[in-house]
Structures are given as structure tokens and as C-alpha cells.
């Protein structure tokens, strides 16, 4: 029987990248400690701040909500849960009640903003329109751009000091690799534990960034959190290939993911020096912050014959 390297109890996880095994209690303590350390090291949350947590109902965002609620309650900060309902039938409609239940358990306010409300169309309809019009863009492009736009706008309307997302180590390393493959320096420049404030943008923090996906999952399962464990029906594309490649690499060469992250952190200051500062403007159509004349969301909606409904979200 594999024993915990710290207390000798039965191990539930072999942390091969660190040469240690952990029992259930030590795994939970370790994840909580990493979460707090990420916040402290990068000054992600200050006392008295209002943090809006993006919560989809998946294992990472539910774990993040619980961890943030615990953290904030001890430091006179406030956390509020925000869910973007993309309108994916048979998927998002199953996760919404899970978020509500977790928010109620924690005594945290929960707000929901839907694609239908904001754009007049669900993601299901948007994907159908994209296929009909042969835009050549995959569903993740629409979902990612539009969801991020709504998260920012809703967080701003909720008077958030920070917007917290539950990106874990695997997500961050996948993003590094994806932007490397696409040769997208400006996107690489924006990766990190905190993306600071620019006009119209709520600063974005990632307190789970150094927690491997498997440890985030174990944390949620061991704490018996109510989580939504289903695969998005639209998941696909190069993201999946990069994800599978990284998991294969990590299985055969433990610590690869952390090494990629650390190397990126060393390179990032050099990358940032090469990125020119761009001027933020307001989108000519919706008024949201953008570096272009029209924001990406309006551009994508326009291609489909859709437009923002022009309402406040909250």
C-alpha cells in the first residue's frame, strides 16, 4: 500500500512530479495551501475587495468558489458567483442548478447572464448560424470570445474589484502552448496570475493557476462538492490535441507541465518588452473596451446577422 509521504496514512494520490504521495487530508491541505500562496505571492486579493468568481459548475470553478469563499471570509473581502449561460442544451442547463446549490451552501450571491439575454441567441443557435453561413470558425471561438466579454461586462456592473477565473495549471500550460503554436505573442503577453486593470476591464485573477487539474478534481471529490462532470458537446479542435499531448508528456515525463509554466514565467518579461502598448477605445457598436474599431464580439455577431441587445446585464 502506498503511504502518504507526510503522515503515513493510505495515499490517494501519487504526486510524481514532486516525488511524494498524499493521503486525502494532506491533499486537501496542500491544495488549500497552494491556493492561499498564489493569492499572497501575486497579491491577487486585497482586504475589503469585492471578488466576482466565474463559476460554470465544473469541478475547478466550484472548487475555486469554495476556496475563495473560505479565503475571503477570513479577510473581510467579499465573493459573488457569476455564471454565463451560453445556452447549450443538455449541458449548461444541467450545471446551473449545481452552481446555485453551491452558492446557497456558501451564502454567496449568484448572478446568471445568458447569451440569449445579451445577444438574442444561444450558443446552440450561434453555432447553427455559423455552419449555415460557412464562417469557418469553430464553436469554441464564439463561446470563448462572447463568454469573456460578458464576464467582464457583468463583473463591471457588479462593481467587482477583481474577476476570478478557475483556470488550473493544465489550462494555463495549454494556453501557453496554443499561443506558441499560433505564434501569438500578444496573447502570450496577457497570460499570468493577474491581468491588471485597463480602462473598462476588470482585473482578472487566476488563483488556481498552480494547481494541476487532477489535484483540483481530487480536491472537489474528496470534499464531496456538488460538481458538474460532463463534457461540453462542442469541445474539440486544436485545444484537445494540445491537451492530450501535454497529458501524455506529463505521464511519461513528470513535472513537464510545471517546467513549461516556469520557463514561460522567465520569458514573459522579455515578451512583454516586445509588445507595443495599444490604445484602448470604445467599440463603435456597443461601447465595450477594445483595441479595434469594433470589438471582437460585435464583429462575430455581425457576421451572423446578430447584434448585442444593448441592455445592462445585471
Amino acid at each position: 500500500m502506498l503511504k502518504c509521504s507526510f503522515c503515513g496514512r493510505r495515499a490517494v494520490y501519487d504526486r510524481r512530479y514532486a516525488g511524494a504521495a498524499l493521503c486525502d487530508r494532506c491533499l486537501i491541505k496542500s491544495v488549500e495551501k497552494r491556493f492561499r500562496r498564489a493569492i499572497a505571492e501575486h497579491k491577487l486579493v486585497s482586504p475589503g475587495e469585492r471578488i466576482v468568481a466565474a463559476v460554470s459548475g465544473g469541478k475547478d470553478s466550484v472548487a475555486c468558489l469554495h476556496l475563495l469563499a473560505g479565503y475571503c471570509s477570513q479577510r473581510k473581502s467579499e465573493v459573488v458567483a457569476l455564471t454565463i449561460d451560453e445556452g447549450v442544451k443538455g449541458y449548461r442547463d444541467h450545471s446551473l442548478p449545481i452552481v446555485e446549490e453551491n452558492a446557497e451552501l456558501l451564502g454567496v450571491e449568484h448572478f446568471v447572464v445568458s447569451f440569449k439575454q445579451a445577444f438574442g441567441a444561444s450558443l446552440d443557435r450561434i453555432v447553427r448560424l455559423a455552419r449555415t453561413r460557412k464562417t469557418g470558425l469553430n464553436s469554441c471561438t464564439y463561446c470563448g470570445v462572447m463568454r469573456r466579454s460578458l464576464l467582464n461586462q457583468a463583473a463591471r456592473e457588479l462593481r467587482a474589484d477583481k474577476l476570478a477565473t478557475a483556470h488550473n495549471l493544465d489550462d494555463e500550460v495549454q494556453a501557453i502552448m496554443l499561443n506558441y503554436v499560433r505564434s501569438d505573442l500578444s496573447r502570450l503577453h496577457r497570460l499570468g496570475p493577474i491581468y491588471p486593470s485597463r480602462e473598462g476591464f476588470v482585473p482578472r485573477i487566476k488563483p488556481m493557476r498552480e494547481i494541476p487539474e487532477k489535484e483540483s478534481a481530487l480536491y472537489a471529490i474528496l470534499k464531496e462538492l456538488n460538481i458538474h462532470l460532463a463534457v461540453c458537446p462542442y469541445a474539440g479542435g486544436i485545444h484537445i490535441e494540445i491537451r492530450d499531448f501535454l497529458n501524455s508528456l506529463e505521464e511519461n515525463h513528470p513535472n513537464s507541465k510545471f517546467m513549461i509554466l516556469r520557463m514561460f514565467e522567465r520569458l514573459k518579461p522579455k515578451i512583454s518588452q516586445t509588445i507595443p502598448e495599444f490604445e484602448m477605445r470604445s467599440c463603435a457598436e456597443c461601447g465595450e473596451p477594445t483595441s479595434a474599431e469594433i470589438c471582437k464580439t460585435c464583429e462575430l455577431l455581425g457576421q451572423l446577422g446578430l447584434a448585442k441587445q444593448g441592455k445592462t446585464l445585471i
Binding site: 490517494v12 465544473g58 493544465d170 487532477k214 478534481a217 462532470l229 462542442y234
Partner: protein, 71 residues
Amino acid sequence: MKTIAVSVRVFPGRKKQLIKLPARSKVAGLLKTLDLNPQTVVVRCNGKIVVEEERLKSGDMVEIIHIVTGG
């Protein structure tokens, strides 16, 4: 060669199936048989979370939970 038979259920979605493995197989061997990367799953054996080095025996009830869901 002696074999063992374990009952396996994969979440989300798949039905329970009976898998035959060589005697003294470990969880790692079961995952390899099912072409599953240990990085992407959490495994419970008889209700308890187990590591890949855990040895299986005939009659064990194994639940394999996919944790990489995307979206």
C-alpha cells in the same frame, strides 16, 4: 495464466462492464487496457480513491471518473 474479473464503470456516461485482467494486475494496468491516461481520471475501487499502483482482485467494483471535461 490466472486472470481476475473486475466490474468497471466509467463516468460520465458508460455502462458497467466486466473486464478480465491478468492476476495481480494494478489499476495502472486496467487504465492501459482501457486506453486511459491516468492524468485524466480519478479511480475509486470499492468506494475508495486509489492510486495507480493499487493491486486489483477479482470482484472489485471500480469507478473511473473522467475529470477532463472541457468547456
